[in-house]
Amino acid sequence: MPYLGSEDEVKDLKKALCNPHIQADRLRYRNVIQRVIRMSKLDQWGQAEVLNFLLRYQPRSEEELFDILNLLDSFLKSSSPGVVMGATKLFLILAKNFPHVQTDVLMQVKGTLLAACSSESRELCFAALCHVRQVLHSLPGHFSSHYKKFFCSYSEPHYIKLQKVEVLCELVNDENVQQVLEELRGYCTDVSADFAQAAIFAIGSIARTYTDQCVQILTELLGLRQEHITTVVVQTFRDLVWLCPQCTEAVCQALPGCEESIQDSEGKQALIWLLGVHGKRIPNAPYVLEDFVENVKSETFPAVKMELLTALLRLFLSRPAECQDMLGRLLYYCIEEEKDMAVRDRGLFYYRLLLAGIDEVKRILRSPQSDPSLRLLEDQAERPVNSWASDFNTLVPVYGKARWATISKCQGVERHGPELPNTASFATSGPLIPEENKERVQELPDSRALMLVPNHQLTAECFEKTWLSLKVAHQQVFPWQGAVHPDTLQMALQVVNIQTIAMNRAGAQPWKAYLSAQDDTGCLFLTELLLEPENLQMQISVKQNKARTETLNSFISVLETVIGTIGDIKS
């Protein structure tokens, strides 16, 4: 930073940030900060830069924290969105123990975000929309009264429209649902098939809450008899019936006639699944399936054939008289003529199953027809602000969490070049440990030497592969009492930058969890937690991809602190 770095105040601040003795001197530190942010020559780039490296400071007391926040308040009203977002991030991170302050800050920057969302620069608008979605994950009602700002106009580029539709889906509530649905319905007939389908899926996801209105709209769309619309509507119906069984009746009434305008594999599979599972309530279900059976030879997608086998067998259980003949024909075809091995095996499997007797078939195939509990898995509602505060005003929300995970996986494993200390995402694991544990961690020898990388993401497959290829480097037993609260534990681990790969539900016996973390040299720590029902202790096994005892020890002590704290809270 040649331009800013030449200023004395900035040098002072940098020194202060590095030197714990100066950090301890609150007044001096306050002075430096005050001088830096009042620097007259500081333009918006300088301000953003200063806000960025203030992220590295951890206030000692509540009083000091609010003091700093007050000093920085004016940045929230800057006319440059970059500065406002930088300040917001700093506020969110500093006030991590004060949810009401965080909410307040997000309230204050609402205007700036909304203005950026309707900005003339499409690119800025896109970045702002991504951040709006991020905020909505934690505060679902935050933008609900401004829903009209997120209506699309036909001249906007595709990627903005898709983001806006997502935002609309997320901010819907009792008051605006009518207007939002009406707007979305307009998009469903858009000339761009992609956008139309995105709008239909959006209505489908709103339908999980406002079922009746949405199913009515979707049923009307079927009347258009257009291929690209019908196929998506049927797929939406399939998911909806699975999640909200109360709409089954309406869906079953809407289905007849759809088969004529569905050509693609996904749509056919959805329709056949619906006919198989709910065929009892659809009078012409056997005849539709019969058409599919007649044309099975010319069917190109093996997945459709598999779906057809299962569906027909299910329907056979509820309507045997109408289905027996064609089930026979289908099985014959699949076993004798089909070239795809998976389909053939499935056919043989069902054939043998039928040989075992009809009661056996019923026992196996009559699975539940819906599972409302899955809903919670899909939208993990109301994630805490702290879970994304460090990602705010970075590229993570712009890429989307999932894509970022794949990007940083490729980068994270390979790259361990020297990190420049003044980047936004940089935060050591030390200061991020909750206030109450701080002294304990600092007493530990060498705990400073270990720096766990934030935003470390490892996929489950990758974890499994690495886990199996490594030997256990360390095994230890910690005292533990009572049951586990996975959410609390996961959150606590996240604070110290340990990622949870998989975890049993609360109360499972034995209870297991798999964790992963990475330090700044690229060394991976893979951990298994095991809680046997009888023993009052938690067994941990740690594997490491580079044998380094000192970092391993400090990693274990971090883990011990977290587990100890969680254990303390409960006992």
Binding site: A48, S80, Y159, V396
Partner: protein, 460 residues
Amino acid sequence: MISQFFILSSKGDPLIYKDFRGDTGGRDVAELFYRKLTGLPGDESPVVMVTTGGGGHHDDRHFIHIRHSGLYLVATTSENISPFSLLELLSRLATLLGDYCGSLGEGTISRNVALVYELLDEVLDYGYVQTTSTEVLRNFIQTEAVVSKPFSLFDLSSVGLFGAETQQSKVAPSSAASRPVLSSRSDQSQKNEVFLDVVERLSVLIASNGSLLKVDVQGEIRLKSFLPSGSEMRIGLTEEFCVGKSELRGYGPGIRVDEVSFHSSVHLDEFESHRILRLQPPQGELTVMRYQLSDDLPSPLPFRLFPSVHWDRGSGRLQVYLKLRCDLPPKSQALNVRLHLPLPRGVVSLSQELSSPEQKAELGEGALRWDLPRVQGGSQLSGLFQMDVPGLPGPPGQGPSTSAPPLGLGPASLSFELPRHTCSGLQVRFLRLAFRPCGNANPHKWVRHLSHSDAYVIRI
């Protein structure tokens, strides 16, 4: 922190390429970027893209770009930086290049390659921003801009505002505003000009029953100054200008906006009392003030559309009668009005009856386009369109002949420009310069008002 910066033409030809850190790749990144951009799957956004170079692990980088007047301005970085700051920097660079080279475009950039490189050298050092102020930079820039043709103040053939992306508006003095700010060091006579634009973008949504669902006005006061910097300027706004819902000024209904933000160089000491903005603008372009207004418009909306749709399901004949009323004051007019009406799939033929000869209507991309080059305030125009839609099924459970519009028709959207009109009613009362020209004529001051549509949607 930026690793590389480059400018591509709309066809992907690299015009400018600058590597600041030498840490990643080579010149071929520009080509890589364009290939990625054109081959992007439909559901991914082009604004931010990532590339992971084949084997070398130092090859990962993010491309962040903006499109500006047909050019791609691209920055690459290998860090997880703030997208807002970077996008702002790119648009600031675009403005800066515009200030120095005249209006930004493929031609001007390729004529001024040396100047652009010189500017980039000063603005960014090792990928960090040093300064973007036109004022500071002019001390370091030696190269003069190459301008294609000499400017004439009275050349009214190609008219355009410098900021707003509008095609034509016969309000501004020609291309005078699009010349470089700092080119004519020797030629003092041309320097004393200042342009002040009040530009508003209007987005409106009207329900099918005519009720207003959404009005949103985004306004800006933009200044482009060719005056020597340091000269003070006072801009007087309408005295009835109120900010927020509760403030009340004057006796009339007032000009009300919801939120205002000012550029940091604006002094507001006279704003409370007299609605005067005082500033010492640097040379070049500057957004003095931004404001927003929603849901509560003082003047009537510029356009009302009265559609009537008759649809005979049996014969597949669709008849759309559109009546467009312009509610502007009689002296004003709207330019380049275009109505865009999406139609159901499978429309084959169009027959039209339009109320005046200069209008034009045609089918394209599954929509009807109706062009009205000029609409006078208070006037009413109409068009009758007949189309054949074979094989379009009706809404279920209704008779064969119905007036209910088929699905897939509408909503109609209008695009237009309103010169000399602001929807919020905000006007610039005066623009005073405290500048004493030495031996020169008085500076020319140009104040222009313009509204244009962002999204003006009418449901049918």
